[in-house]
């Protein structure tokens, strides 16, 4: 039996039954980003220099490419979940709130696409 009134359901009031996934995803990505972030920092600092040839050679190894994609894409996902929470907390107008959330989703989607294409291009050797 549901305690939700039909009017409340029609208006979208109350729980949408999809709440826990957001927080759970945020924490899971956070956990994964701890080793991935430390790896990224250490790997960058371990490079002999930041010249183009060095960086391309580094990213063009499959292991680096996979870890870098994981790090960048999980970062963007974690970022989207985080800033969406902040918008939901502090932006109250329904129009502004929805528009902000959509804009943030679009920006993160474009950024993720850029990361994927860039890493594939570097892997494929077109960056040389």
């Amino acid at each position: 039996m549901s305690l939700r009134s039909p009017l409340g359901a029609a208006l979208g009031h109350g729980s949408a039954r999809s709440g826990p996934a957001h927080g759970w995803n945020q924490r899971l990505s956070a956990l994964a980003l701890v080793p991935l972030g430390l790896w990224f920092l250490c790997a960058l600092l371990a490079l002999p220099d930041l010249g183009h040839a060095t960086v391309v050679a580094w990213i063009a190894t499959p292991t680096t490419a996979v870890l870098l994609l994981l790090f960048a894409l999980l970062s963007l996902w974690h970022s989207l979940l985080g800033v969406a929470t902040i918008v939901e907390d502090y932006v109250h107008g329904p129009v502004v709130k929805t528009a902000s959330l959509l804009a943030l989703q679009a920006a993160h989607g474009v950024a993720a696409l850029c990361v994927i294409v860039a890493v594939i291009a570097i892997l494929g050797g077109s960056a040389r």
Binding site: R27, A30, L31, L33, V34, G37, L38, L41, L45, D49, L50, G51, H52, A53, V55, V56, I59, L68, A72, S75, L76, S79, G82, V83, I86, G93, A111, C114, V115, V117, A118, V119, A121, I122, S126, A127, R128
Partner: protein
């Protein structure tokens, strides 16, 4: 903006300041900053993929004084957000709610973040000529 006449729950102004509050809000602030800084990573990766000329142009921007300052701030935000995030994961697990413990974890997060950021920036010092 329409004024909502319904009563509000007590907010920040009624609470005595507690260090954990600063640790918590700085977690959000550093997260927002890292979201913006992730654009730098995307820009840098695109520059690498676009070839040596694009990379040289991007390097010039990133190695400029403002570029260095933003990267240094991102390193500080990275360490702070990572350590404060671990604190939040502990809190989610129900650990660290006793006031003395909360205070100690809060100070530890700030101190470790400062030390780790300093160590990282010191290690990155040799990249100063960015070549």
């Amino acid at each position: 903006m329409t004024v909502n006449p319904r009563p509000l729950s007590p907010h920040l102004q009624v609470y005595r300041f507690f260090p954990a509050m600063a640790v918590s809000i700085l977690h959000r602030a550093s997260g927002v900053f890292l979201s913006l800084a992730s654009l730098l990573l995307v820009y840098w990766l695109l520059a690498v993929a676009n070839g040596p000329d694009a990379y040289a142009a991007a390097s010039q921007i990133l190695a400029s004084l403002p570029g260095r300052l933003v990267i240094a701030a991102a390193v500080i935000a990275f360490w702070y957000h990572l350590l404060a995030g671990l604190r939040h994961l502990l809190l989610d697990a129900g650990i660290g709610f006793d006031l003395p413990v909360a205070r100690r974890i809060g100070f530890a997060v700030v101190a470790l973040a400062v030390l780790a950021a300093a160590a990282t920036l010191a290690a990155a010092w040799r990249y100063l000529d960015w070549s």
